[in-house]
Each structure stands twice: as C-alpha cells, then as structure tokens.
C-alpha cells in the first residue's frame, strides 16, 4: 500500500520529464484482445502510441519505464453507468441520474457529472478509464456522453458529449390483472393489457414520426426555422449519425425493438439484453451490438438453468454479436463500476473466450462510443491510455498498479486507499 503510494509520487515527480517520449516495458502487453506481446514494449510520444511490439526502436533520449513484473492492458471502458451522476443511492440530494418526463431527448448526461465524485477514483483504481454516462427516466430519456475518469472539470472530462440517444423500450409483460388502486373498478384483462401494449408502441412510433416530420420541415426551410430543443436533440439519431441505445431485456421487447429499428433504419445498440442470447443469430446477422448487463442477475424463471446468465455472453459472442459487457444502470451500480472486469470474467468460466471477454470491456464499448480510433486497443496512433496490472486483468486476485491516460500518470488513490492508509496506521488503542 505504501509502496504503491510512493510509486505514484515518483511518477508524479518524474512524469513531466517523460512527457515527451517514453518506452514502457512489461512482462506482457495485451495490444488487442487477440494480440499480445510477451514481453512487450510500448513507445509513447506526446500522449499517443507511437509503436508497440515485442521490442520497439527507442528514440534518442527516450525515458524507459520498466514494469518487468506487470502486464499492460488498454484502459477499461464502461458501456454505461451513472458515475458522476449518483453518489449515495439512499440520499436523494446526491442523485442526478433519473429525470422526470416520458420524452426528454434534450436531456444530456454529461452536464451533470460531478468531477469530484468519490465514486470516480474508486472505479479508476481498478482500471476503468472511461465510462459512458447515460440518463434514465421515461421512455426517451436523453443522450449519453462519454467521460474520461480523470480531470479537473466536466468539460475537460467529457470525451464525447453526445454518444447515443436512449430509448427505454416499453414493457411487454402480461401482469397479474389486478386493480392498480383500491378505487379502480375492474382489473385489467389480458386483452386490455394487449391494447395497452399496442397503444404505447403506437405512441412511440408517433413520437419518432413527429421528429422525422420536424427534420423534414427543417430541411425544407433552412435558415428561418424556429428550433425546438427536444426535436433538435433527436436529429442526429434520425439521420443515423448517432445510435439509439435501446434498453430492453425481454425477448418480446427485443424482438419488437429490432423490428422497429429495422423499419426505421436507425442505428441501434441493444442494452440490457437479458434474453438477447435467444436471438443471437438474428442480432449477429443484423450487426446489432449488445451491451449485456445481466451476468449477475438471477435467471428470470425458476425453471431457467442456474447459470443461464453466466453463459449468455458466450452464446452471443459465438454467434458473432458485437458484445460489450456492463453493469446495470442506476445509482446502485455506480459505486460498483470497479467490478466491470469481473462481470466479463464470470462469463469466461461459462463459455466466453478470454479475448472476447477482454474485447467486451475495451474495444467493443469504444466502438459503441465512436472512439475506436483513439481507444480500446493499444495500437500505433491511438491514445496512450492504458493500465498496468500485477497479473491477468480478469483475475480478481490481480491488482492495477499504474494508469496512464493519454500518456499522463493518473492517480489510483481513492477514498478507499486513503482510509486504508489512515486506519492501517492506527496505533493499537490502550486497553480500557
């Protein structure tokens, strides 16, 4: 603990000296999910990767950082969280992740990131360098942004302010038809519930129809057009410039959403995706990426196999679905983002290959967020954003020792390490 802190101090001190050119040597460098160098070298120039390989040609005067016992991986990217929006789940004043209203496309998540959230350094300490931060609440909840988990202010931390438009697909479950309130006259029958389902989908369609009408009207009258913020926020998604991230877990929802997206020719990402493995081939064929968020939720039915959700990522990846793995969204999981790699590793024991598991928390989410050219793998020309670990990244017993974000040494200290140090040093109290 102390050692790592000293290391960190040393990095801080010599960091500026190395800012120009640095070679990192490591026991192993995982350049891409399927390519690694053992040992490996990584040349960083001005925050970018200049070269990578078993050994790279060292420029003159280049500093060398020798992590001979460590392994280097790309920084991890969480494909969705409430980091920075939610602090303490039980305390309403500390929560900003869920807005009211059913259709609020003009809500943007990045604007409410608290750069000093104690949760951010905790996630960082286990190798998470970036997170997509998504708004919740309602059916169209707004747009998510990609943030880097280090920086002095919200503008500095925002990598891409607008990554995806978020659509929470209406539920299709047929419930126990019972009155909602004691005053309600009659329970809702299955038929009524079916009508209700259709109505909600119709409303959803109408909303996007209206948005498209707005887009056409605007295109026809460029210049003198009185912009409406809500419709403006929809435009990038309608034109396919921005993906629509559809949150859906149930097979019926997923089927309906896929069909809907196909009809409308939108670019979509499926998020949640509890039952998506049942549609793996379709999703693969339509090249719809999936963010699987259910590795650690219980199977839906008592009759489902006990390891159903452990196996689902393996099934999806095998079918060729572009797979990211994430935690569920919301205040509850914001504090647990550091466990992102272990959601992926649990799937490895149940059929997901190690390289797909690595991809699911690095390059795949980078693709979703439109930053694959900069992030997600360690290749020449990309950002020098990486971590060094004591062993296999997916192994819980390993720990993250160093982090570089665009070549900059980044602190792995957190509320947790501070408290650990403070109380680790507590002198033994005198007996009473």
């Amino acid at each position: 603990m102390k050692k790592s802190f000293l290391c960190f101090l040393a990095c801080l001190l010599i960091g500026p000296v190395l800012a120009g050119q640095t070679i990192y040597r490591a026991k192993k460098i995982q350049a891409t999910p399927s390519l690694s160098f053992e040992p490996g070298e990584l040349l960083v120039v001005a925050g970018k990767i200049k070269a990578i390989g078993k050994s790279v040609k060292a420029p003159k005067g280049c500093k060398v950082v020798d992590w001979k016992d460590l392994e280097i991986y790309p920084g991890l990217i969480s494909p969705g969280s409430s980091l920075g929006l939610a602090e303490i789940n039980a305390l309403r004043p500390t929560r900003d992740e869920s807005e009211v209203g059913t259709h609020t496309p003009d809500v943007e998540a990045w604007v409410a990131i608290n750069p000093d959230s104690e949760l951010i350094p905790v996630a960082r300490a286990n190798g998470v360098t970036h997170s997509l931060v998504a708004p919740m609440g309602g059916m169209v909840s707004g747009t998510s942004g990609l943030i880097v988990l280090d920086g002095w202010g919200v503008e500095e931390m925002t990598v891409r302010p607008k990554v995806a438009l978020h659509l929470w697909w209406p539920g299709h479950s047929l419930g126990l038809p019972q009155p909602q309130a004691p005053g309600d006259a009659k329970p809702k029958s299955i038929q009524e519930q079916q009508r209700e389902r259709r109505r909600v989908i119709r409303e959803l369609d109408e909303f996007f129809d209206q948005a498209e009408a707005y887009a056409r009207a605007k295109a026809a009258n460029p210049g003198k057009f009185d912009a409406v913020p809500a419709w403006e926020a929809m435009l990038p998604a309608l034109g396919g410039k921005m993906p629509v991230m559809i949150h859906a877990d149930e097979l019926r929802q997923i089927k309906a959403a896929v069909e809907w997206a196909g009809k409308r020719r939108y670019r979509v990402i499926l998020s949640g995706g509890r039952d998506s493995w049942k549609l793996a081939d379709t999703l693969a064929q339509k090249k719809i990426p999936v963010v699987y968020r259910h590795v650690f939720t219980a199977p839906r039915h008592r009759n489902s196999p006990h390891d159903q959700q452990f196996r689902a990522p393996g099934i999806l990846a095998k079918a060729g679905v572009p797979l990211s793995i994430g935690l569920r969204l919301g205040g509850w999981s914001a504090a647990n983002q550091r466990n992102l790699p272990y959601h992926a590793s649990q799937a490895v024991a149940h059929g997901l290959t190690r390289s797909k598991a690595l991809a699911s928390i690095t390059i795949e989410p980078a693709r979703l967020c439109g930053v694959a050219k900069r992030l997600g793998t360690l290749e020449a020309g990309k950002d020098a954003t990486f971590i060094a670990t004591s062993g296999d990244l997916l192994d819980i017993r390993s720990s993250v020792r160093h982090m570089r974000i665009m070549g900059r040494a980044t602190s792995l200290q957190s509320r947790h390490t501070r408290l650990y140090e403070r109380y680790g040093d507590r002198p033994e109290p005198k007996p009473r």
Binding site: L174, S189, H306, I396, R397, L419
Partner: protein, 952 residues
C-alpha cells in the same frame, strides 16, 4: 373429530331454536294456512350415503325430518306424492368453510401484499404489551387480529342472494367461518333455508379458526404483526397466555388476592382449545403449502389437532403438507388459461405456473388419498365453476364416492353436525339434492330441486336446458392425464453413498495444514473419516471413488448472512424489538435459491431476519439439503441466534416521512433501547426464578424477553447488523455491561476503524467484500476492511446478503487477496472456517478435518480463479450437486415446460378453458408463497429494509 358429539347434541337440545321436535305452525285466521308437512318422494334412486344406494326408493318426510327410506312399498295416506322416477336423491351438500365477514370469500393469500389503507397518521409502536389493540371494541388484546372470543352466531344474518345460488348447486348447509384476523373466533353452522334465522342455526360454534395472516400490514404505518413469522409468534404467545392465565388462577386459589382475576375473554376461549379432556376444535388456514406443515407442528406444540384448510397447492410438497391423521378442507379453485395475444407471450409463462395449472384438478384426489378426510368448499371460486371443477377433479382420479363424501359426510363430521345431516338416514333433516338422471357426477346432470328441512326449492326445467347447454361445452372433455411432474420428484440428492474416497485432489483443508497435495479424503457415514496419503486400503469395498485429477476440494461454503430461503416478509418491521419471531418458522425449503447456491458450492447459510429494528428476530442456520423440508434443513447442532441491528435502518432514516415516531430515531436512542430491553429481560429472569422457588406469582411467559434472557445467559448468539465505528463500539460496550459477548457483527463496514476493540471483545466480523456508498453510513466502507480486521486479530468472513452473490462466494473471497494481500488460504477461510466460527458451528463444519461433517465443494480449478466451476457439492456425505446431473435436471424441466405449453395451447384451442371465470384466469398469474419469495429478493443493504421484498 376431536370433540365430543354427545356434548354438542346436548347443547343443541338446550338451545331455543332446537331442531328436534319441530313444531308445526298453527296459523292465525287471515294468514295463509300451512299444509301438512308430509312428503313422499317416489321412484328415485336414493343415495343414502356415499356407500349405499337404494334403487327405485321411497323417501318419506315428516315435518322436515326423514321418516323412512326404503325400497318401494306403500305410501301412507296424507303424504304429498312426488314422482321422482329417473332422478337421483342425495343428501344435501354442506360447505364447511364459507368465509363471511369483511374478507368474505377470500381465502388467505400470502402471495401478495394487500393495498395499504391509510388509517392512522401517528402511531407509537413501543414494545409489546404497551397498549391494547386500538382496533377492538370491548376488552382488546394487545395485538391486532387476536379475538378468539368473537362469535359469528351473534351477528349472523342470512345472505339471501348468495344462498339462493348455493342452494341451486345443491348446498343445504354451511359453516360460516369468520374471515378476519389471526385468531378469528368461531362461526355457526346454518341451514341455507329461508325464514326465521333462529331456526336456521344447526350449531352455534364449530371451531376456533386460526389463520397465519399478517394482519398488521394492512394498516399504515403497519402494526405488529406484518410478517408471516410475526403471525406465528402472535399465535404462540396467545396460547402461552392462555396457559399462564390458568396457572395464575390456580395460584390465586392458594393465595387469594383482593383484585378480581379476570382473564381476557379471548384467552378464556383459548383455554377451551387447550383443555386436554374436552378440547374445543381448532381449524387452521395456513395460507400456503409449507405453512400447512407448520400448522400441524404448531398443533403438536400446543396439543391441538387441527382441521387444515388447504390452499390447492398441496402438490408442491404433499409429503409435508398432508397428514393421514388430519382432516382437510380444500377449495375447488383451479387456475385457468387465457388466450395470450402473441406467440412470444408464452415465453413469459414459467414451468411453475404451468405446473400449478396442470396439477390443480388432481389436487383434491391427492388430498383425499393422503389425509384422514377431504371436504370441499366453494370459498374462493365462483359457483359457476363448481361443477366444472368438481368433474375435472373426478376426471383426475377423485373417486365419485369420495367426492360425494367430501360434500356430505366429511363436512358434516368435521363440523360436528353429522347427527343431523350428511346422509339420508331416518331421523336426519330432510336436506336433499335431487338430480335429473343417474348421477350428480354425470356430464349433463342437473339439480332439479334442493330440499332444506323438507322445504323444496325447485329449478324449472327451462333453466336446465340453458344451463345444460353451457355445461355441455365444458363437459365434453375427456378425462385428462397429468403431464406436470411433482416438483419434489427431482429436488433431491444425486447420490448418497455409504462411503466415498476423494483421491488426487488439492485439498484446501482450511485447518492448520493448509493446502495438501497427494492426500486422499475418506468419507464414512456422512463424516470425514480420514485425510492422508493413499487411503484406498482403508476404504470399504463398496466405497465410491471420486478421482480428482488435479481438481480442488474445499470445505463447503458457509454464508453468514442470507435471506434467500425465507417465506413471507424477511422483516417483522413494526416493533423495535421482535425477538419473539423465528425464521425457523418460515424456512422456505422450496426456494430455487437452494439449487442455485448449491451450484456455487454453498452448503450452509445463516438465514437472518432483516434489519428493520434494533432487536430483530431469531435466525436459523440451515444446511442446503435439497429436498428436505424446512425442519430437515435446520443445522441441528447450531447454537440459537438472533439478529440485531444498528444505524440508519433501525432509526428508520430512509423509510420516508411517515416513519418518525417509533423509538429509536437516533443512535442515542438505539443504545438506550438495548439497555432498556436487556434490563427488562434480566428482571424478567429474576421474577421467573422467584416464581420457580414459590416466592412469587406465576410469571407470564414473554417470548420477547425470553429470547433476550437467553442471550444474557449465553444461550443465544447475537448477529448484529452495524456500520459506523461509534455505534459498533458503543454496542460492544453495552453488551459487555450485561456480560454478553457478541458472536458476529454483520456488515461492520467501519469495523476496520475499531478492529482492535472488536478483536478484544471477541466478536466476529462478517462483512461484504466491496459494497459501499449505497447509503450515507457506508460512505466510508472500504474493500480493504476484511484484510485489515483480519490483520488486527478479528475472525473475518465475507457474506452475501444477496441471492446473487451467494452463488459465487469463492469469487468474493478472492477479493481478500486483491484488497489487502491476504494469502489464498486465509482468503478462502473467509467463506468457510471463519463464518463457521462466527455461527458457533466450527466444531462440525468449516474445514477438512477428520470427524467433521463431510460438507464439501469440488472445483474444476483453484476456487479463487475466475475460470473455476463448482463441479460437485456434498453435505453430510450426500451428493447434492453434480454439474452434469444439475444440467440434466434443468434440461428435463425445460422439456417439461415445452410439453406443458403444447398441452396448454391445445387445451385453449379445444375450448377446454372456456368455462373458467375471470378470477381463475387471474389465478394463473399468481405465484405461490414458496415461489413468490424468489421473485422479490431481500437485502439488508436496501436502504429502507422495510420495503416489501424488492430492492435494487
């Protein structure tokens, strides 16, 4: 029946509305004169009793009484002749459990919470015995729902509308059972006739009705009891109060007091129940399949012999729910299918729902074959379905004779009215059902008249035709075979060899020996017999050999904090001290979590009450013996324990603005509260001692203080939910002041700040690996806490508090290596030996040592490696999980579900579901208590801890 018939007859004779010796009414002039009440029913087949039938019989009725039943013969003069050729006469049907009152017609449904009715804005919920139940008029009992003194006969009124309908279906008498409360009082048996209500009562009181109904949850804020285990504790305390009242009155005979001895009238009624010589009968409506077995055991505990009101779910665990020595009353409500709008909607339908649908019609036959007697009730179903469902039940194997008995002789016997009704014997009341044709149970049979006390109610034939058409639609079906399997059939051990030799494993002993290679482990008689190199020679001949091939064997995982297998609410969240409630009363042996956690290597867990109050309920340590009943899962030797809690949950900090009046609302108050209750318990102990030595009056056994007294005496372990360092320290000191050592601090997320003090006190620390920031008091939680506390000398465990985490506790243990750098050997102890120590069961489990229970988990590779899979799980030398077998079982279930969906869709297509009512269709979407609990996992991390199950 466990009560004296003669007495009841004698009582009846004394009543003013006595049936014997009916007087003919002599009308005043001007009134319509009444004819001679003499009827001769001629030519019908008379089904005298389920076992005897007279073809072409003659039935003579005089003044409402059956005068003669014989085959043919002369009809004496003066009798009105009824040609009943081609008809069949049965004894009038009896419904033994027609619920009346506020919840009329509603059988206890523990599956879903009632709507909260806001009745009170302010409620001080101090401690038990602080005030009488405010909801009662007259002498109130201290908790709501206990009013055994209530007599339904006092407020009895004929309900003409619904009675007419019942008569038309052949019913002539009913037991009007009270529907409100836990100890509900009694109801009368009445005739469904018209006229003077006084002349309709057959029996004033049938039985004391108990229901395991957490009635307190219907109030807002809820009052005690709002949980199933609370309802049981209330029941138990009430019986103990009755016993105490008797002791006290005996004492007062010896030592008279100037004060009058006036036990509560309800308590006096319970004394009648407990009267060994002449006990008043008790009927119990348990509300779920497993609770039926609890009703039976409660009967054994207090010496009563209940009639059980079945739920229709007995197929879930017939071995537990049904008893050969007890009579059962079953509703005839079967869930029915609805057409689902989309093909995909069938995805939503679970195997359990389909099984419930497919088993339901066979359930009455199941009850009939496995109990002393079956009676049927119409409660809970719309009468329109009665005959449809009855015929389905017969189609599924309920013999017609048994069905008839279930409608006549059996209900008559359990209601204690068999001397008047139930058969067509001479001298009994002329209560008859006349049916067109040979049999009531024929597809197209129709009731042509119902007779009550000799008065006919006739149903014109045009009605018949219409009804007949309706009936035909549903009656065309062929008898069906059951497709669904019994859930119990495959929830059982894979194998139980008499001995087993594990050879070639890496043995994680979790003892001083560390990890052993090249050693064998021999299991005999459920125990670890030996560990050593090459034990093959020592192994018995038929010993099962399990070759390890480099795999890893560890002690079974022990989860020190679980709520995964509890029926009903995990919290009795009302009172600040609920030490009288017992998790052992509500263990859910049927939870799917048993299987899921076995598949993660878990062999034992500590089922804890929630953290809604400083003094919570008694915990239950169980072993995951799949297939055993709730009692069979209990870890017999585990010391008793109790859940305590500190901090935000107990001061209701996150419960909402309504919850601001219960003491305590601050951490100051929490400490005050403990001192108060422990002092009270100590004084209670002193009084008990005095009474035992004859120096004082008998002491009322107080289940709350009894449990706390056990703690003071060192007979009950405290497992205390705690977070902040100050509250942890103060709690330890408070307990020390009563000479109590705390067994485990649960969560103890700031325990690392006072690790030395915890270690010196000797409390275990059972924590989470890395949860934090879900509420304010855990903002300082750190993942290094486990390692830090361990280094300072605490016995540390990681627990799940989650049905998810419990499936992968080995991965949680790995975090002790990651955060704080513990050795792998020590890390694994966090989920094996250390929790065993905290629960006081390390003498038997937690490590691999000769003499200990053979509770083992077998891993494909290092259990702390993410690539590991638990291949086998053994408990007491019995194999409960074997990955291949588990997968096959899951595949069988999947196939069964597919088969049932095909059957369901066919049934819908064939119109077989058409006759069902809306309620039956809704029922299909309900979950039984045993399965509903799996859908709403509980965790003490959820901030309210009083929310009904759901958390995020």
């Amino acid at each position: 029946m466990a009560f004296n018939i003669l007495t009841s007859i004698a009582l009846t004779l004394l009543l003013p509305f006595s049936l014997v010796g009916l007087e003919r009414k002599f009308t005043f002039p001007g009134e319509k004169p009444v004819g001679l009440n003499l009827h001769a029913l001629i030519g019908a087949d008379v089904q005298v009793s389920p076992d005897s039938r007279i073809r072409g019989g003659v039935l003579l009725i005089r003044d409402g009484i059956i005068e003669t039943v014989r085959k043919g013969g002369e009809i004496p003069a003066g009798y009105r002749k009824w040609d009943m050729t081609g008809k069949t006469i049965y004894a009038g049907f009896i419904d033994p459990y027609l619920l009346t009152g506020a919840n009329a017609g509603k059988l206890l449904d523990l599956k879903h919470d009632h709507h909260v009715v806001a009745t009170a804005s302010l409620s001080f919920q101090g401690t038990p015995s602080t005030r009488p139940d405010p909801g009662e008029k007259g002498p109130g009992f201290e908790v709501s729902g206990v009013h055994p003194e209530r007599k339904g006969s006092e407020s009895f009124q004929p309900a003409e509308g619904s009675w007419k309908n019942l008569r038309q279906h052949g019913f002539t008498a009913v037991h009007l059972a009270p529907s409100e409360g836990i100890m509900r009082g009694t109801g009368p048996c009445v005739l469904l006739g018209e006229g003077n209500p006084n002349e309709l009562i057959l029996k004033e009181e049938v039985a004391q009705i108990l229901a395991f109904d957490p009635v307190g949850k219907q109030q807002s804020p809820p009052v005690y009891p709002n949980s199933l285990m609370g309802a049981l504790a209330v029941t138990r305390q009430a019986f103990l109060d009755a016993i105490h009242a008797r002791e006290k009155s005996l004492y007062l005979l010896r030592k008279p007091s100037p004060l009058p001895d006036l036990p509560h009238p309800g308590i006096r009624r319970l004394q009648e129940v407990l009267d060994k010589k002449n006990p008043f009968p008790v009927w119990v409506e348990p509300g779920s399949c497993l609770m039926e077995s609890r009703a039976l055991s409660l009967g054994r505990e207090f010496g009563f012999h209940p009639v059980i009101i079945a739920t229709g779910d007995e197929w879930r665990r017939p071995d537990l729910a049904l008893s050969k020595n007890h009579a059962y009353v079953s509703p005839l409500r079967f869930p029915a299918l609805s057409k689902l709008p989309d093909e995909e909607d069938w995805e939503q339908i679970s195997l359990d729902q389909l099984r419930a649908w497919d088993h339901a019609p066979g359930n009455p036959s199941l009850i009939s074959s496995r109990t002393k007697s079956l009676s049927l009730t119409t409660t809970g179903l719309s009468l329109g379905e009665f005959r449809r469902n009855l015929l389905q039940a017969i189609g599924r194997g309920l013999p017609e004779k048994k069905a008839l008995a279930a409608l006549t002789t059996n209900p008559a016997r359990i209601c204690g009215i068999e001397s008047f009704v139930g058969t067509l014997e001479k001298g009994k009341l002329a209560n008859l059902v006349v049916v067109n044709g040979e049999s009531y149970f024929a597809k197209d049979a129709m009731v042509s008249s119902t007779w009550i006390k000799g008065v006919p109610y006739r149903y014109p034939s045009e009605n018949h035709e219409k009804a007949k058409a309706d009936d035909n639609a549903s009656a065309e079906k062929e008898p069906e075979k059951r497709t669904a399997r019994f859930p119990h059939a495959d929830r059982k051990p894979v194998e139980s060899p008499s001995s087993a030799l594990f050879t070639g494993f890496k043995l994680w002993t979790c003892s001083g020996k560390g990890i052993l290679s090249g050693h064998d482990l021999l299991v005999k008689g459920g125990k670890i017999a030996a560990i050593g190199p090459n034990l093959r020679a020592k192994a018995p001949k038929d010993c099962k050999i399990i070759p390890g091939k480099g795999m890893h064997l560890t002690p079974g995982i022990i989860d020190c904090h679980s709520h995964s297998m509890i029926l009903g609410r995990v919290n009795e969240s009302t009172l600040p001290s609920t030490s009288m409630v017992r998790i052992a009363d509500v263990v859910n042996s049927e939870s799917i979590n048993v299987e899921r956690q076995l598949a993660g290597g878990v062999t034992a867990c500590n089922l804890l009450h929630g953290s809604a109050n400083p003094i919570g309920g008694q915990n239950a340590v169980i072993k995951l013996r799949l297939g055993s009943g709730p009692d069979g899962m209990l870890f017999e030797k585990a010391p008793s324990g109790i859940k305590f809690a500190l901090g935000e949950n107990v001061k209701q900090a996150n419960w909402g603005d309504k919850y601001v009046t219960r003491f305590p609302q601050t951490r100051m108050g929490v400490k005050t509260f403990f001192t108060n209750r422990f002092t009270a318990a100590r004084q209670y102990g002193l009084r008990l001692g005095q009474a035992r030595q004859g120096e004082g009056p008998p002491v009322r056994k107080n289940l709350e203080l009894e449990a706390i007294l056990e703690i003071i005496r060192g007979e009950r372990l405290i497992h205390c939910h705690s977070y902040r360092q100050d509250e942890i320290l103060v709690f330890l000191r408070t307990m020390e002041s009563f000479g109590v050592r705390v067994a485990s601090l649960q969560h103890v997320l700031e325990g690392y700040k006072v690790a030395d003090e915890i270690a010196r006190h000797g409390a275990g620390a059972s924590t989470f690996s890395d949860w934090w920031a879900y509420k304010f008091e855990v903002y300082d939680a750190i993942p290094y806490a486990g390692a830090l506390m361990h280094e300072r000398g605490c016995v540390v465990s990681f627990n799940s508090d989650s049905s998810d985490h419990a499936r992968r506790m080995n991965m949680e243990a790995a975090k002790a290596v990651k955060y704080g750098g513990l050795s792998e050997v020590e890390a694994l102890k966090f989920v094996t030996l250390n929790p065993a120590k905290q629960l006081g069961i390390d003498e038997w489990v937690g490590s691999l040592e000769p003499g200990k229970d053979a509770d083992l988990a077998l891993w494909s590779t290092n259990p702390l490696d993410y690539r590991t899979v638990c291949r086998q799980t053994w408990i007491d030398g019995v194999l409960y999980h074997e990955i291949k077998q588990t997968r096959e079982r899951e595949a069988r279930r999947s196939a069964e579900r597919t088969e049932l969906i095909t059957k369901a869709q066919k049934s819908l297509g064939d119109g077989k579901e058409d006759g069902a009512g809306e309620e039956a269709r809704q029922r299909f979407f309900r979950y039984s208590l045993e399965t509903a609990c799996d859908l709403h996992p509980h965790s003490c991390r959820s901030h309210g801890c009083n929310s009904k199950g759901g958390h995020r």
